[in-house]
């Protein structure tokens, strides 16, 4: 028994560290989805955007040697997917949910297509900030290696929360989401607002994907994303379209996702695959607990097809 062995305390610690690591992509995708949904449209294609962002970020980071350039590239590629979704949805008789499914398949397909040559090479990782210098335990130190993107995500959540309440832009987005007729009456173009909201939302989702491939798990592979983009949609509903609540929900999902690996780190490998399903089960139970068929949800944008 050596001094650095902290036994089963390793499980909560690893879950805490894992929650921060695993939650970051959830956070970005859910903030992007939150913005899109606030404008009255739902983008189920963010799963595809996330995967393509992961691939684009990894490829650019590998070719340029700069991981931050990779993050930017992932965001820009996400913009393209968001813009495509936003443009198509404005056409009459086109269903935003169906387009989302199609974009999910299209984005994943494109990512796998262009990502083939990047499966082997090792791209530079995003640097992390060490906050654990005060502790002598290596487990604590490694748990407090936190990626700057996490802090950017938290900041973004706060800014979005503030902006929805206090800025002109926030008001326009909320108005478009609650009543297209009101927005039109005020002289704003509903299609343009939604197009921009979906595009920016795509940017966030792309950045979330770059985190996956450039930090944790930290390599591009075809099995990289396992539905984070889609779970984020459920997460936004759970968070009642509140960016700050999105942050809390993302942490919760991160902890659920970290459960399997955390238990594995202390030697419990039994049921690893079962714990892998934890985030999906959690999402499902959260939806069962928080959605009701009788009343519409508090804070739900009135124009959203998913809550109608």
């Amino acid at each position: 028994m050596n001094e650095t062995d902290i036994g089963f305390w390793g499980v909560p610690l690893a879950m805490f560290a894992g929650a921060i690591r695993v939650s970051t992509p959830f956070l970005f995708v859910s903030l992007g989805e939150c913005l899109t949904e606030k404008s009255g449209r739902i983008n189920l294609g963010l799963e595809g955007t996330l995967v393509f962002g992961a691939m684009a970020g990894y490829a650019v980071a590998y070719l340029s040697g700069s991981p931050w350039l990779g993050v930017l590239a992932a965001g820009i590629s996400g913009c393209f997917f968001g813009a495509l979704h936003g443009y198509i949805c404005k056409l009459p008789k086109v269903n935003d949910i169906a387009i989302g499914i199609a974009m999910m398949l299209f984005g994943t397909g494109l990512a796998f297509f262009f990502g083939k040559p990047f499966i082997q090479p090792q791209a530079p990782h995003l640097p992390s900030i060490s906050l654990g210098g005060w502790s002598s335990l290596p487990q604590v130190q490694s748990a407090l290696e936190i990626n700057p993107l996490f802090f950017i995500g938290v900041l973004l959540a706060v800014v979005m929360w503030w902006a929805f309440k206090n800025t002109r832009w926030g008001l326009i987005v909320r108005m478009t989401g609650d009543s297209a007729a009101a927005a039109r009456a005020m002289g704003y173009s509903v299609d343009l607002v939604r197009f921009l909201a979906t595009t920016v939302g795509g940017f966030f989702a792309g950045v979330g994907g770059a985190f996956l491939s450039l930090y944790y798990p930290g390599a591009w592979s075809e099995g990289l994303s396992s539905g984070q983009g889609l779970m984020a949609v459920a997460l936004v509903i759970f968070a009642r379209w509140n960016p700050l609540a999105c942050f809390g929900a993302a942490l919760l999902f991160g902890a659920a996702g970290a459960l399997g690996p955390a238990l594995q780190s202390v030697g419990i490998t039994q049921g690893y695959y079962f714990f892998n399903a934890a985030p999906y089960l959690l999402t499902l139970f959260i939806m069962i607990a928080s959605v009701s068929p009788k009343r519409s949800l508090k804070g739900a944008p009135g124009e959203l097809s998913i809550t109608k």
Partner: protein
């Protein structure tokens, strides 16, 4: 969702030939627009190939050759079309009620897995093939029905979006299978790839004589026809379509909306479970990770291309099965990644949905005197 009010060829009683022709011209919209969308998708994909320095002509000729060119490629195509018909039905039936269910993959995998598990004690006891296969069939179909039925129930009784719920359930289904296949039910006789115990050569379903394709294909076609009859020629189908058209009107009419939704979802899941049964009983011989081969997801595209019409699903499934079958040939001859087919499918899906905007806008397909 998709336009429910399809023109299902009710023959014109009066008016004779001219009116029949007029009807035909108007209903041809549902064939012409999807075909046009496919052509546009093909053109965009050609540009994509061109930009990558590949020859579109070579791509499409290989696509033809690998999918439909030879007897062998036809065989390959039809083997892939069989599960696609069933997974597309899993999307199309709930779609008539206005539900978008995309969890066919999970119902297929879980149905296949439970079927394989049900066979284990019977195989070990030396039961005859018809008993083994019968038990597998019932288990697979029931599992699929319950799995998607749950999605329908969650939708109706808890108001949970069925699209998200079904995809989440899909991930859960695959995790359940992996959990057991890697653990308690792993066959020690197969160290390389975690699988359940094989059902044995003697219990496998054979091929349709002279076709080189397993029985899943004719069964799928029969199921598609039966479901077409169910949805278009029975009170159940009528009630389901009313619900899909307008839930409030359906409720006002006193239709049992909840029962209709759960039943339609259960039928859908049963189709996917049936696909899983054939994947185990006719192809894999055991349950393992290769069951999650994406048939559930391609099935979504098949259903949308067929405009959720069960009979139209059959040719569309064969068409997409052909594209999937040609993937290997394209990969070898042109040195392109296996995701090429996925890109083409995704593109087709996006263009197809964009083409929805054309319905009712083209004057050619309008009724005479309709000057909207």
């Amino acid at each position: 969702m998709a336009d429910i009010a399809q023109q299902d060829g009710v023959p014109a009683m009066a008016g004779g030939l001219a009116e029949t022709m007029d009807r035909l011209r108007r209903s041809s919209e549902y064939v012409v627009i999807p075909l046009f969308a496919l052509v546009v998708a093909g053109l965009i994909f050609s540009l994509f190939l061109f930009a990558l320095g590949q020859s579109p002509a070579m791509f499409f000729s290989l696509l033809w050759k690998g999918g439909f060119g030879t007897g062998f490629s036809w065989q390959n195509t039809l083997v892939r079309a069989a599960p696609l018909i069933l997974t597309a039905l899993c999307v199309a039936i709930p779609a008539r009620l206005g539900l978008v269910i995309i969890g066919g993959e999970g119902a297929l995998v879980l149905g296949a897995f439970t079927g394989a598990v049900a066979s284990i004690p019977l195989v070990n006891a030396g039961a005859p093939p018809f008993l083994v296969l019968g038990a597998m069939l019932v288990t697979s179909v029931a599992t699929g029905a319950v799995w998607i039925g749950i999605v329908g129930a969650l939708r109706h009784y808890r108001g949970i979006n069925e699209t998200i719920a079904s995809l989440l359930m899909s991930y859960i289904a695959i995790a359940i299978m992996n959990f057991f296949v890697e653990g308690a039910l792993r066959d020690p006789g197969n160290p390389n790839k975690p699988s359940t115990q094989p059902i044995g050569e003697a219990n496998m379903i054979g091929e349709v004589p002279g076709l080189g394709v397993h029985w899943g294909l004719p069964v799928g076609i029969v199921v598609a026809i039966l479901l077409w009859v169910l949805m278009n020629r029975t009170t159940f189908g009528f009630a389901a379509r009313v619900t899909g058209g307008n839930v409030r009107a359906a409720r006002a009419q006193g239709l049992p909306v909840g029962k209709l939704i759960v039943t339609a979802c259960a039928i859908a899941g049963a189709c996917a479970g049936l696909a899983g049964f054939f994947e185990v009983a006719a192809i894999q011989g055991k349950a393992n990770a290769s069951l999650a081969a994406g048939y559930g997801f391609t099935g979504i595209l098949v259903a949308f291309l067929a405009r959720q019409n069960p009979i139209a699903i059959v040719p569309v499934a064969i068409f997409l099965g052909g594209i999937a079958a040609a993937g290997g040939l394209i990969q070898r001859r042109m040195g392109m990644p296996d995701a090429t087919v996925q890109v083409l499918q995704g593109l087709m899906f996006v263009v197809l949905l964009v083409s929805e905007t054309l319905y009712g806008r083209l004057p050619f397909f309008r009724a005479k005197g309709d000057r909207r």
